[in-house]
Protein backbone atom coordinates (compact mmCIF):
# COMPACT_ATOMS: atom_id res chain seq x y z
CA UNK A 1 0.00 0.00 0.00
CA UNK A 2 2.67 2.45 1.06
CA UNK A 3 4.62 1.60 -2.04
CA UNK A 4 1.70 2.52 -4.20
CA UNK A 5 1.29 5.82 -2.51
CA UNK A 6 4.90 6.60 -3.05
CA UNK A 7 4.60 5.80 -6.69
CA UNK A 8 1.59 7.98 -6.99
CA UNK A 9 3.42 10.82 -5.40
CA UNK A 10 6.22 10.44 -7.84
CA UNK A 11 3.83 10.38 -10.68
CA UNK A 12 1.89 13.37 -9.64
CA UNK A 13 5.08 15.34 -9.51
CA UNK A 14 6.05 14.52 -13.03
CA UNK A 15 2.94 15.49 -14.91
CA UNK A 16 2.81 18.64 -12.93
CA UNK A 17 6.21 19.65 -14.11
CA UNK A 18 5.18 18.80 -17.62
CA UNK A 19 2.08 20.87 -17.43
CA UNK A 20 4.03 23.83 -16.14
CA UNK A 21 6.61 23.55 -18.81
CA UNK A 22 4.47 23.30 -21.84
CA UNK A 23 1.27 24.80 -20.64
CA UNK A 24 1.23 26.75 -23.85
CA UNK A 25 1.60 23.59 -25.77
CA UNK A 26 -1.11 21.77 -23.94
CA UNK A 27 -3.56 24.52 -24.67
CA UNK A 28 -2.58 24.19 -28.26
CA UNK A 29 -3.13 20.50 -28.39
CA UNK A 30 -6.24 20.75 -26.32
CA UNK A 31 -7.89 22.88 -28.90
CA UNK A 32 -9.39 20.12 -30.85
CA UNK A 33 -11.60 20.67 -33.77
CA UNK A 34 -14.62 18.53 -33.23
CA UNK A 35 -16.55 17.29 -36.16
CA UNK A 36 -19.85 15.86 -35.13
CA UNK A 37 -22.84 14.42 -36.75
CA UNK A 38 -26.39 14.72 -35.68
CA UNK A 39 -29.42 12.93 -36.86
CA UNK A 40 -32.39 14.77 -38.10
CA UNK A 41 -35.60 13.33 -39.28
CA UNK A 42 -35.38 10.50 -41.72
CA UNK A 43 -32.07 10.00 -43.39
CA UNK A 44 -31.07 13.57 -42.90
CA UNK A 45 -28.12 14.61 -40.88
CA UNK A 46 -26.28 17.67 -39.78
CA UNK A 47 -22.54 18.05 -39.55
CA UNK A 48 -21.19 20.48 -37.03
CA UNK A 49 -17.65 21.70 -36.94
CA UNK A 50 -16.63 23.20 -33.67
CA UNK A 51 -13.40 24.87 -32.76
CA UNK A 52 -11.95 26.19 -35.97
CA UNK A 53 -9.28 28.68 -34.87
CA UNK A 54 -10.34 32.28 -34.79
CA UNK A 55 -7.61 33.32 -37.16
CA UNK A 56 -9.64 31.93 -40.00
CA UNK A 57 -12.56 33.74 -41.43
CA UNK A 58 -15.45 31.45 -40.70
CA UNK A 59 -17.73 33.10 -43.17
CA UNK A 60 -15.33 32.60 -46.00
CA UNK A 61 -14.72 29.03 -45.01
CA UNK A 62 -18.42 28.41 -45.02
CA UNK A 63 -18.79 29.96 -48.41
CA UNK A 64 -16.11 27.76 -49.89
CA UNK A 65 -17.41 24.67 -48.19
CA UNK A 66 -20.92 25.25 -49.28
CA UNK A 67 -19.84 25.49 -52.85
CA UNK A 68 -17.52 22.55 -52.69
CA UNK A 69 -19.77 20.15 -50.87
CA UNK A 70 -22.90 21.42 -52.54
CA UNK A 71 -24.78 21.84 -49.34
CA UNK A 72 -26.20 24.58 -47.29
CA UNK A 73 -24.95 25.61 -43.92
CA UNK A 74 -24.79 28.29 -41.33
CA UNK A 75 -22.54 29.68 -38.71
CA UNK A 76 -23.95 29.50 -35.25
CA UNK A 77 -22.27 31.66 -32.71
CA UNK A 78 -22.67 30.10 -29.36
CA UNK A 79 -20.15 32.26 -27.60
CA UNK A 80 -22.18 33.61 -24.75
CA UNK A 81 -24.25 30.64 -23.67
CA UNK A 82 -21.84 27.72 -23.67
CA UNK A 83 -18.58 29.22 -24.80
CA UNK A 84 -18.26 26.94 -27.74
CA UNK A 85 -17.38 29.71 -30.10
CA UNK A 86 -18.57 29.76 -33.63
CA UNK A 87 -19.83 26.53 -34.98
CA UNK A 88 -20.18 25.77 -38.63
CA UNK A 89 -23.20 23.70 -39.29
CA UNK A 90 -23.72 21.93 -42.56
CA UNK A 91 -26.58 19.97 -43.93
CA UNK A 92 -25.75 16.37 -44.59
CA UNK A 93 -22.95 14.10 -43.58
CA UNK A 94 -19.73 15.80 -44.61
CA UNK A 95 -17.47 14.61 -41.87
CA UNK A 96 -14.84 13.04 -44.06
CA UNK A 97 -14.87 15.73 -46.65
CA UNK A 98 -14.61 18.44 -44.10
CA UNK A 99 -11.71 16.76 -42.47
CA UNK A 100 -9.92 16.56 -45.75
CA UNK A 101 -10.67 20.17 -46.31
CA UNK A 102 -9.29 21.18 -42.95
CA UNK A 103 -6.13 19.18 -43.45
CA UNK A 104 -5.54 20.10 -47.07
CA UNK A 105 -2.63 22.48 -47.31
CA UNK A 106 -3.26 23.91 -50.71
CA UNK A 107 -6.96 24.26 -50.96
CA UNK A 108 -7.95 23.94 -47.36
CA UNK A 109 -6.75 25.28 -44.06
CA UNK A 110 -3.71 23.10 -43.65
CA UNK A 111 -4.44 22.22 -40.06
CA UNK A 112 -2.84 19.46 -38.13
CA UNK A 113 -4.68 16.21 -38.47
CA UNK A 114 -4.00 15.36 -34.87
CA UNK A 115 -6.17 18.18 -33.67
CA UNK A 116 -9.21 17.04 -35.52
CA UNK A 117 -11.60 14.71 -33.84
CA UNK A 118 -14.45 13.10 -35.64
CA UNK A 119 -17.29 12.01 -33.47
CA UNK A 120 -20.33 9.97 -34.08
CA UNK A 121 -20.98 6.63 -35.62
Amino acid sequence: MSGEIEIQNLKSRDPFADADEDSGQTTQTQEYIHIRIQQRNGRKTLTTVQGIPAKFDHKKILKVIKKEFACNGTIISDTESKGLGEVIQLQGDHRLKIKEFLVDKEEGLGLDEKNIKIHGF
Partner: protein
Protein backbone atom coordinates in the same frame (compact mmCIF):
# COMPACT_ATOMS: atom_id res chain seq x y z
CA UNK B 1 -15.80 3.91 -40.15
CA UNK B 2 -13.57 6.86 -40.35
CA UNK B 3 -14.50 8.14 -36.99
CA UNK B 4 -11.52 6.42 -35.52
CA UNK B 5 -9.02 7.89 -37.83
CA UNK B 6 -8.08 11.01 -35.93
CA UNK B 7 -7.98 9.30 -32.60
CA UNK B 8 -5.75 6.70 -33.99
CA UNK B 9 -3.34 9.14 -35.32
CA UNK B 10 -3.22 10.90 -32.05
CA UNK B 11 -2.55 7.70 -30.36
CA UNK B 12 0.22 6.77 -32.69
CA UNK B 13 2.03 9.96 -32.00
CA UNK B 14 1.71 9.42 -28.32
CA UNK B 15 3.33 6.08 -28.20
CA UNK B 16 6.45 5.91 -26.15
CA UNK B 17 9.72 4.22 -26.78
CA UNK B 18 9.06 1.56 -24.23
CA UNK B 19 5.87 0.77 -25.94
CA UNK B 20 7.58 0.16 -29.23
CA UNK B 21 10.05 -2.12 -27.69
CA UNK B 22 7.41 -4.13 -26.06
CA UNK B 23 5.70 -4.48 -29.36
CA UNK B 24 8.78 -5.83 -30.89
CA UNK B 25 9.13 -8.38 -28.21
CA UNK B 26 5.60 -9.51 -28.67
CA UNK B 27 6.43 -10.20 -32.25
CA UNK B 28 6.61 -13.88 -31.60
CA UNK B 29 7.67 -15.26 -34.91
CA UNK B 30 10.21 -12.65 -35.57
CA UNK B 31 11.63 -13.10 -32.15
CA UNK B 32 15.04 -13.38 -33.65
CA UNK B 33 14.48 -10.08 -35.26
CA UNK B 34 13.67 -8.60 -31.98
CA UNK B 35 16.74 -9.75 -30.30
CA UNK B 36 19.08 -8.76 -33.09
CA UNK B 37 17.78 -5.27 -33.57
CA UNK B 38 15.68 -4.09 -30.71
CA UNK B 39 15.21 -0.60 -32.07
CA UNK B 40 15.07 -1.46 -35.69
CA UNK B 41 11.70 -0.61 -37.01
CA UNK B 42 12.05 -1.34 -40.65
CA UNK B 43 11.33 -4.83 -41.64
CA UNK B 44 13.69 -4.97 -44.59
CA UNK B 45 16.78 -4.57 -42.51
CA UNK B 46 15.42 -7.00 -40.03
CA UNK B 47 15.11 -9.60 -42.71
CA UNK B 48 18.63 -9.15 -43.87
CA UNK B 49 19.84 -9.39 -40.34
CA UNK B 50 18.02 -12.52 -39.54
CA UNK B 51 17.92 -15.12 -42.16
CA UNK B 52 16.55 -17.63 -39.75
CA UNK B 53 13.10 -16.24 -39.47
CA UNK B 54 11.66 -18.00 -42.48
CA UNK B 55 12.58 -21.54 -41.48
CA UNK B 56 10.76 -21.02 -38.28
CA UNK B 57 7.87 -19.63 -40.13
CA UNK B 58 7.88 -22.64 -42.38
CA UNK B 59 7.99 -24.90 -39.40
CA UNK B 60 5.13 -23.06 -37.92
CA UNK B 61 3.15 -23.41 -41.04
CA UNK B 62 3.86 -27.07 -41.14
CA UNK B 63 2.56 -27.48 -37.65
CA UNK B 64 -1.02 -28.23 -36.88
CA UNK B 65 -3.66 -25.87 -38.03
CA UNK B 66 -4.93 -25.25 -34.58
CA UNK B 67 -1.69 -23.83 -33.43
CA UNK B 68 -0.92 -22.11 -36.64
CA UNK B 69 -3.70 -19.66 -36.69
CA UNK B 70 -2.99 -18.01 -33.36
CA UNK B 71 0.72 -18.04 -33.93
CA UNK B 72 0.30 -16.27 -37.19
CA UNK B 73 -2.03 -13.96 -35.47
CA UNK B 74 0.59 -12.88 -33.00
CA UNK B 75 3.15 -12.51 -35.67
CA UNK B 76 0.93 -10.35 -37.73
CA UNK B 77 0.18 -8.45 -34.62
CA UNK B 78 3.69 -7.44 -34.13
CA UNK B 79 4.42 -6.96 -37.77
CA UNK B 80 1.51 -4.70 -38.26
CA UNK B 81 2.26 -2.78 -35.18
CA UNK B 82 5.77 -1.93 -36.12
CA UNK B 83 5.32 0.58 -38.88
CA UNK B 84 2.42 2.55 -37.57
CA UNK B 85 2.56 2.20 -33.85
CA UNK B 86 -0.73 1.07 -32.53
CA UNK B 87 -2.29 -1.21 -35.02
CA UNK B 88 -5.77 -0.63 -33.81
CA UNK B 89 -6.41 0.63 -37.26
CA UNK B 90 -7.13 -2.95 -38.04
CA UNK B 91 -10.27 -2.48 -36.12
CA UNK B 92 -11.49 -0.12 -38.73
CA UNK B 93 -14.59 -1.25 -40.40
CA UNK B 94 -13.49 -0.14 -43.80
CA UNK B 95 -10.43 -2.25 -43.90
CA UNK B 96 -12.31 -5.18 -42.65
CA UNK B 97 -14.71 -5.03 -45.47
CA UNK B 98 -12.01 -4.78 -48.05
CA UNK B 99 -10.14 -7.67 -46.65
CA UNK B 100 -13.13 -9.81 -46.20
CA UNK B 101 -13.17 -11.10 -49.70
CA UNK B 102 -9.63 -12.33 -49.93
CA UNK B 103 -9.88 -13.60 -46.41
CA UNK B 104 -12.68 -15.84 -47.43
CA UNK B 105 -11.14 -16.92 -50.66
CA UNK B 106 -7.85 -17.69 -49.00
CA UNK B 107 -9.13 -19.63 -46.09
CA UNK B 108 -12.08 -21.44 -47.45
CA UNK B 109 -15.48 -20.43 -46.33
CA UNK B 110 -15.55 -20.80 -42.61
CA UNK B 111 -17.33 -17.54 -42.24
CA UNK B 112 -20.94 -18.44 -42.21
CA UNK B 113 -23.28 -15.51 -42.21
CA UNK B 114 -24.65 -16.31 -38.80
CA UNK B 115 -21.25 -16.52 -37.24
CA UNK B 116 -20.32 -13.17 -38.59
CA UNK B 117 -23.26 -11.64 -36.97
CA UNK B 118 -22.50 -13.18 -33.62
CA UNK B 119 -18.83 -12.63 -33.46
CA UNK B 120 -17.81 -9.05 -33.11
CA UNK B 121 -15.65 -9.18 -36.19
CA UNK B 122 -12.81 -10.90 -34.42
CA UNK B 123 -12.96 -13.93 -36.60
CA UNK B 124 -12.61 -11.96 -39.74
CA UNK B 125 -9.68 -10.08 -38.39
CA UNK B 126 -7.80 -13.22 -37.63
CA UNK B 127 -8.30 -14.57 -41.04
CA UNK B 128 -7.25 -11.44 -42.69
CA UNK B 129 -4.09 -11.42 -40.70
CA UNK B 130 -3.26 -14.94 -41.67
CA UNK B 131 -3.50 -14.09 -45.29
CA UNK B 132 -1.40 -11.02 -44.89
CA UNK B 133 1.15 -12.90 -42.93
CA UNK B 134 1.50 -15.54 -45.55
CA UNK B 135 2.11 -12.90 -48.12
CA UNK B 136 4.79 -11.50 -45.95
CA UNK B 137 6.42 -14.86 -45.49
CA UNK B 138 6.36 -15.42 -49.18
CA UNK B 139 8.06 -12.11 -49.70
CA UNK B 140 10.66 -12.82 -47.12
CA UNK B 141 11.35 -16.22 -48.51
CA UNK B 142 11.72 -14.82 -51.94
CA UNK B 143 14.18 -12.25 -50.78
CA UNK B 144 16.19 -14.88 -49.05
CA UNK B 145 16.22 -17.17 -52.01
CA UNK B 146 17.66 -14.39 -54.05
CA UNK B 147 20.40 -13.95 -51.55
CA UNK B 148 21.34 -17.55 -51.72
CA UNK B 149 20.42 -20.92 -50.39
CA UNK B 150 22.88 -20.98 -47.54
CA UNK B 151 21.28 -17.96 -45.96
CA UNK B 152 18.70 -20.21 -44.45
CA UNK B 153 21.31 -21.48 -42.07
CA UNK B 154 23.05 -19.58 -39.36
CA UNK B 155 25.98 -17.83 -40.91
CA UNK B 156 27.26 -16.16 -37.78
CA UNK B 157 28.08 -19.27 -35.78
CA UNK B 158 30.89 -21.56 -36.74
CA UNK B 159 28.95 -24.78 -36.48
CA UNK B 160 25.66 -25.05 -38.16
CA UNK B 161 22.89 -25.45 -35.68
CA UNK B 162 20.37 -27.30 -37.63
CA UNK B 163 17.69 -29.80 -37.00
CA UNK B 164 14.03 -30.31 -36.78
CA UNK B 165 12.76 -29.41 -33.39
CA UNK B 166 9.55 -31.26 -33.96
CA UNK B 167 11.25 -34.55 -34.62
CA UNK B 168 14.08 -33.96 -32.20
CA UNK B 169 16.88 -34.24 -34.68
CA UNK B 170 20.05 -32.25 -35.12
CA UNK B 171 20.66 -29.86 -32.28
CA UNK B 172 17.33 -30.68 -30.81
CA UNK B 173 18.23 -34.30 -30.25
CA UNK B 174 17.81 -35.46 -26.71
CA UNK B 175 21.41 -36.51 -26.16
CA UNK B 176 22.86 -33.56 -27.97
CA UNK B 177 25.51 -31.83 -25.90
CA UNK B 178 26.31 -28.86 -28.06
CA UNK B 179 25.20 -25.62 -26.61
CA UNK B 180 22.32 -24.26 -28.52
CA UNK B 181 22.65 -20.61 -29.25
CA UNK B 182 20.19 -18.12 -27.99
CA UNK B 183 18.22 -17.41 -31.10
CA UNK B 184 17.12 -20.92 -31.95
CA UNK B 185 16.21 -21.47 -28.36
CA UNK B 186 14.13 -18.37 -28.33
CA UNK B 187 12.37 -19.23 -31.51
CA UNK B 188 11.76 -22.70 -30.18
CA UNK B 189 10.22 -21.22 -27.11
CA UNK B 190 7.80 -19.16 -29.09
CA UNK B 191 6.94 -22.00 -31.39
CA UNK B 192 6.20 -24.28 -28.49
CA UNK B 193 4.32 -21.58 -26.72
CA UNK B 194 2.11 -21.07 -29.69
CA UNK B 195 1.66 -24.77 -30.22
CA UNK B 196 0.78 -25.69 -26.70
CA UNK B 197 -1.47 -22.75 -26.13
CA UNK B 198 -3.53 -22.25 -29.21
CA UNK B 199 -5.68 -19.73 -27.44
CA UNK B 200 -2.76 -17.89 -25.96
CA UNK B 201 -2.72 -15.25 -28.61
CA UNK B 202 -6.35 -14.56 -28.02
CA UNK B 203 -5.80 -13.30 -24.51
CA UNK B 204 -4.58 -9.96 -25.72
CA UNK B 205 -6.51 -6.93 -26.77
CA UNK B 206 -6.80 -8.10 -30.29
CA UNK B 207 -9.47 -10.56 -29.60
CA UNK B 208 -11.07 -8.71 -26.80
CA UNK B 209 -14.64 -9.63 -27.33
CA UNK B 210 -17.75 -8.00 -26.23
CA UNK B 211 -21.15 -9.29 -27.02
CA UNK B 212 -22.50 -7.51 -30.08
CA UNK B 213 -24.92 -4.77 -29.27
CA UNK B 214 -28.50 -5.72 -29.81
CA UNK B 215 -30.44 -2.96 -31.39
CA UNK B 216 -34.16 -2.93 -31.66
CA UNK B 217 -36.31 -0.24 -33.06
CA UNK B 218 -38.92 1.20 -30.84
CA UNK B 219 -41.49 2.89 -32.93
CA UNK B 220 -39.99 4.90 -35.67
CA UNK B 221 -37.63 7.23 -33.94
CA UNK B 222 -36.10 5.40 -31.04
CA UNK B 223 -33.57 2.65 -30.83
CA UNK B 224 -33.38 0.24 -27.97
CA UNK B 225 -29.95 -0.91 -27.02
CA UNK B 226 -30.87 -4.07 -25.24
CA UNK B 227 -27.71 -5.61 -23.87
CA UNK B 228 -25.97 -2.57 -22.53
CA UNK B 229 -25.71 -3.92 -18.97
CA UNK B 230 -24.15 -7.08 -20.30
CA UNK B 231 -21.59 -5.19 -22.31
CA UNK B 232 -20.81 -2.85 -19.46
CA UNK B 233 -20.28 -5.79 -17.20
CA UNK B 234 -17.90 -7.29 -19.69
CA UNK B 235 -15.97 -4.07 -19.91
CA UNK B 236 -16.21 -3.46 -16.17
CA UNK B 237 -17.53 0.01 -16.62
CA UNK B 238 -20.47 1.76 -15.09
CA UNK B 239 -23.56 1.81 -17.22
CA UNK B 240 -23.84 5.52 -16.78
CA UNK B 241 -20.39 6.14 -18.10
CA UNK B 242 -20.97 4.15 -21.25
CA UNK B 243 -24.36 5.71 -21.67
CA UNK B 244 -22.96 9.19 -21.34
CA UNK B 245 -20.33 8.41 -23.91
CA UNK B 246 -22.85 6.98 -26.32
CA UNK B 247 -25.06 10.00 -26.03
CA UNK B 248 -22.20 12.42 -26.40
CA UNK B 249 -20.87 10.69 -29.46
CA UNK B 250 -24.17 10.12 -31.13
CA UNK B 251 -25.27 13.63 -30.35
CA UNK B 252 -28.57 12.54 -28.96
CA UNK B 253 -30.29 11.72 -25.74
CA UNK B 254 -32.26 8.91 -24.30
CA UNK B 255 -33.26 7.06 -21.21
CA UNK B 256 -33.10 3.73 -19.51
CA UNK B 257 -36.25 1.70 -19.44
CA UNK B 258 -37.64 -0.69 -16.87
CA UNK B 259 -35.48 -3.66 -17.74
CA UNK B 260 -32.30 -1.57 -17.85
CA UNK B 261 -32.31 -1.32 -21.57
CA UNK B 262 -31.13 1.88 -23.09
CA UNK B 263 -33.53 3.83 -25.21
CA UNK B 264 -31.72 6.11 -27.62
CA UNK B 265 -33.48 8.78 -29.55
CA UNK B 266 -32.86 8.50 -33.23
CA UNK B 267 -32.37 5.63 -35.57
CA UNK B 268 -29.19 3.75 -35.15
CA UNK B 269 -28.04 0.52 -36.58
CA UNK B 270 -26.11 -2.10 -34.77
CA UNK B 271 -23.10 -1.30 -36.86
CA UNK B 272 -23.09 2.29 -35.79
CA UNK B 273 -23.43 1.50 -32.14
CA UNK B 274 -20.67 -1.01 -32.55
CA UNK B 275 -18.38 1.63 -33.94
CA UNK B 276 -19.01 3.92 -31.04
CA UNK B 277 -18.44 1.12 -28.59
CA UNK B 278 -15.19 0.38 -30.30
CA UNK B 279 -13.97 3.91 -29.88
CA UNK B 280 -15.10 3.74 -26.30
CA UNK B 281 -13.03 0.66 -25.72
CA UNK B 282 -10.01 2.26 -27.28
CA UNK B 283 -10.46 5.38 -25.27
CA UNK B 284 -11.63 4.16 -21.92
CA UNK B 285 -10.98 0.46 -21.60
CA UNK B 286 -7.71 -0.65 -23.12
CA UNK B 287 -4.49 0.09 -21.38
CA UNK B 288 -2.32 2.19 -23.61
CA UNK B 289 0.84 0.61 -22.32
CA UNK B 290 0.13 -3.07 -22.54
CA UNK B 291 -3.14 -2.98 -24.47
CA UNK B 292 -4.81 -5.15 -21.93
CA UNK B 293 -8.50 -4.56 -21.49
CA UNK B 294 -8.22 -5.54 -17.88
CA UNK B 295 -8.43 -2.05 -16.47
CA UNK B 296 -10.33 -0.09 -13.92
CA UNK B 297 -11.80 3.33 -14.26
CA UNK B 298 -11.79 5.36 -11.12
CA UNK B 299 -12.29 8.88 -10.10
CA UNK B 300 -9.10 10.51 -8.95
CA UNK B 301 -8.59 13.33 -6.51
CA UNK B 302 -9.49 16.31 -8.57
CA UNK B 303 -12.43 15.23 -10.63
CA UNK B 304 -10.21 13.50 -13.09
CA UNK B 305 -10.85 10.00 -14.22
CA UNK B 306 -8.02 7.55 -14.18
CA UNK B 307 -7.59 4.21 -15.81
CA UNK B 308 -5.55 1.76 -13.83
CA UNK B 309 -4.34 -1.29 -15.61
CA UNK B 310 -4.67 -4.49 -13.67
CA UNK B 311 -2.10 -6.38 -15.65
CA UNK B 312 0.75 -3.93 -15.92
CA UNK B 313 -0.17 -1.46 -13.22
CA UNK B 314 0.09 1.63 -15.34
CA UNK B 315 -2.19 4.49 -14.65
CA UNK B 316 -3.31 7.20 -16.98
CA UNK B 317 -5.86 9.91 -16.94
CA UNK B 318 -8.66 10.00 -19.44
CA UNK B 319 -10.71 12.83 -20.67
CA UNK B 320 -14.05 13.39 -19.15
CA UNK B 321 -16.94 12.80 -21.46
CA UNK B 322 -17.98 16.07 -22.92
CA UNK B 323 -20.99 16.81 -24.97
CA UNK B 324 -20.10 19.33 -27.56
CA UNK B 325 -22.23 21.61 -29.54
CA UNK B 326 -25.48 20.10 -30.58
CA UNK B 327 -27.83 21.90 -32.83
CA UNK B 328 -31.44 22.09 -31.98
CA UNK B 329 -33.29 19.76 -34.20
CA UNK B 330 -37.00 19.57 -34.49
CA UNK B 331 -39.91 21.59 -33.30
CA UNK B 332 -38.46 22.75 -30.06
CA UNK B 333 -36.32 25.38 -31.68
CA UNK B 334 -39.29 27.35 -32.83
CA UNK B 335 -40.83 27.15 -29.42
CA UNK B 336 -37.72 28.40 -27.72
CA UNK B 337 -37.25 31.31 -30.02
CA UNK B 338 -40.80 32.44 -30.34
Amino acid sequence: MSTEEPTLQRRASRKSVAFTEEKLVVDADGSVTVMATPNDDTKDTAVSHTPRTPPLAAALRASTDASQAPADGTAADGADANPDGLDLSLMKKKKKKVKKEDGESGDGAAAAGGEEAIDLSMKKKKKKKVVKEEDEFAKKLEALNLEGGESAEAPAEGDVQDGDMEKGTGIWAHDETRTISYNPLLSRFFTLLAQKNPDHASTGTRSYKIPPPQCLREGNKKTIFANLPEICKRMKRADEHVTAYLFAELGTSGSVDGSRRLVIKGRFQQKQIENVLRTYIIEYVTCKTCRSPNTELSKGENRLYFITCNSCGSRRSVQAIKTGFSAQVGKRRKMQQG
